[in-house]
């Protein structure tokens, strides 16, 4: 049996995104000097939400990019070949503030791979991490978010999903699936 509990609806999500954007603006005086990098596959949907809101608030274009961390993963001994998705970072990251954007921070391994990937595009002045959900007792690597939507205390067998309308869902929602009874 799978228990599903709904955590967020679209209204709450918008308030949270608004707050995260204000925090970014507070920390970065110069918009030209930062670049938001969404992690494939789901981080890029969340990135677009952040970008939209930031541009609306700043009335300026915000630099963004996508990064796929497949080739940097550390679980190379698994038998499944992970599907590589598009990476698109057109601007140099040299001397810039890079904000990595992902929907859920879990073990921290993806973010570690992402940092390695970003360093291959140059030497950023600073790397920050923005996540919507921080599953904070599940970390396997010492990585903490700079900007965080909500902290969740979950166990490993639970699954946290951020479902946005852009991904084909009827409405925005964040749900926790508990598979422990299966």
């Amino acid at each position: 049996m799978t228990n599903i509990s709904k955590l967020f609806d679209s209204k709450r999500l918008e308030i949270t995104i608004d707050r995260l954007c204000q925090q970014i603006i507070e920390n970065h005086k110069n918009v030209e000097n930062f670049i938001l990098v969404g992690l494939q596959p789901r981080g890029v949907y969340f990135l677009e939400r952040i970008k939209y809101k930031l541009e609306k608030n700043l009335i300026k274009e915000v630099n963004t990019g996508y990064l796929d961390t497949t080739f940097y993963r550390d679980d190379f001994r698994s038998n499944d070949v992970p599907t590589a998705r598009e990476t698109r970072i057109t601007d140099s990251v040299d001397g810039k503030d890079v904000v990595i954007v992902d929907d859920v921070l879990f073990t921290g391994r993806t973010v570690r791979s992402a940092m390695e990937g970003i360093m291959n595009f140059g030497r950023p002045k600073k790397i920050e991490l923005l996540v919507l959900i921080d599953r904070y007792y599940s970390r396997e690597i010492p990585i903490e978010p700079t900007y965080c939507g909500i902290k969740l205390n979950t166990i490993t067998s639970e699954r946290v999903e951020v479902n946005l309308t852009e991904q084909g869902f009827e409405e925005d929602s964040i749900i926790i699936k508990n598979k422990s009874n299966e």
Partner: protein, 309 residues
């Protein structure tokens, strides 16, 4: 589908259309990696790859070695001309000796058709055929098709002419198998003496007039005369071959359509192709070389997930 069916890449005749598309999709991602300031990913840092070449090679060997280094694999190189093969060691003994040194993947070129198949059947690790005699050269065909798709968007129903020494060409055989699977129309063109007798059975048309072939095709893949494999005279002289089958600017200009020019290299300038054609904007010869690294990265990356049973 996200994995290759076999542990080896021995020929394009064994590949399914899904496998081909998987290789191309993955190669596209690696091509992007190659455009980064740091063109290296750590995907194969846990592997050691042996490049075992029993036959000369410049491009293929460099391309494989560069692909391995871009994937962070450890690389060892072996050339038969400077090895114990000259002292009478058998193929399997040579391979087994390399294997006990904990090699994880083998890239192999051999003058005898089927040699990589023999090795692949006798060992558990992935073997990639980098050319076996006149049989197959699968990575070359894959990079050729990848380059055509990059230029034309698709291969389906495109007219591809393969011109030159078909008899001695593994590139031609691998290309025919692959292009057929991708839905191309294929014409072979060359002197009758350099055309295999039953080649039409592969579902290709054959012409002996190079102008007719060029007027028909969208893409011309021009092959070198493989003098090193020819034990007898197939045509009176190189000069005469060049006169009848050499592709020069004058000939191309007289054709009322754009033809994309390809060549797997090495080029014999002034024999099968003139310099002004090889260096023209119709030629994608250097794109082929560039794409070769990305395609080989994709193949080795995908094979690296294969576990011996």
């Amino acid at each position: 589908m996200n994995n290759l069916n076999s542990k080896d890449i021995l020929g394009t005749r064994d590949l399914s259309i899904e496998e081909i598309n998987l290789i191309f999709d993955t190669a596209k991602k690696f091509k992007e990696v190659l455009s980064r300031p740091i063109k290296k990913v750590p995907s194969l840092r846990h592997l050691t790859v042996a490049n075992i070449f029993f036959e000369n090679s410049t491009r293929t060997k460099l391309s494989f070695e560069l692909a391995q280094k871009r994937l962070s694999a450890d690389v060892i190189n072996f050339s038969s001309s400077v090895s114990s093969v000259k002292k009478g060691e058998s193929l399997l003994d040579t391979i087994n000796n390399i294997l006990v040194m904990k090699v994880d993947m083998i890239v192999m070129r051999h003058p005898n058709p089927g040699a990589p198949h023999f090795v692949a059947n006798n060992i558990d690790i992935p073997v990639i055929n980098a050319g076996d005699g006149t049989n197959e050269h699968p990575t070359q065909a894959l990079l050729d098709s990848f380059s055509i798709i990059e230029k034309l968007g698709s291969i389906k129903n495109k007219k591809i002419a393969i011109i030159g020494d078909i008899s001695h060409s593994r590139v031609a055989i691998s290309n025919i198998h692959l292009l057929k699977k991708l839905g191309a129309q294929i014409m072979l063109c060359g002197p009758k003496t350099l055309m295999p007798k039953y080649i039409k059975d592969m579902g290709v048309s054959v012409r002996n007039n190079v102008r007719e072939a060029l007027e028909w095709c969208d893409v011309a893949n021009i092959l070198r005369i493989q003098l090193e494999r020819q034990n007898e005279k197939y045509f009176p002289s190189i000069r005469e071959y060049s006169l009848y089958y050499g592709i020069n600017k004058e000939l191309l200009d007289s054709i009322k359509k754009d033809v994309i020019i390809m060549h797997p290299g090495p080029i014999n300038r002034g024999v099968e192709i003139s310099s002004d054609v090889a260096d023209s904007n119709k030629s994608i010869i250097l794109d082929q070389v560039e794409n070769g690294v990305a395609v080989r990265m994709a193949i080795m990356y995908l094979l690296s997930f294969h576990r011996s049973s």
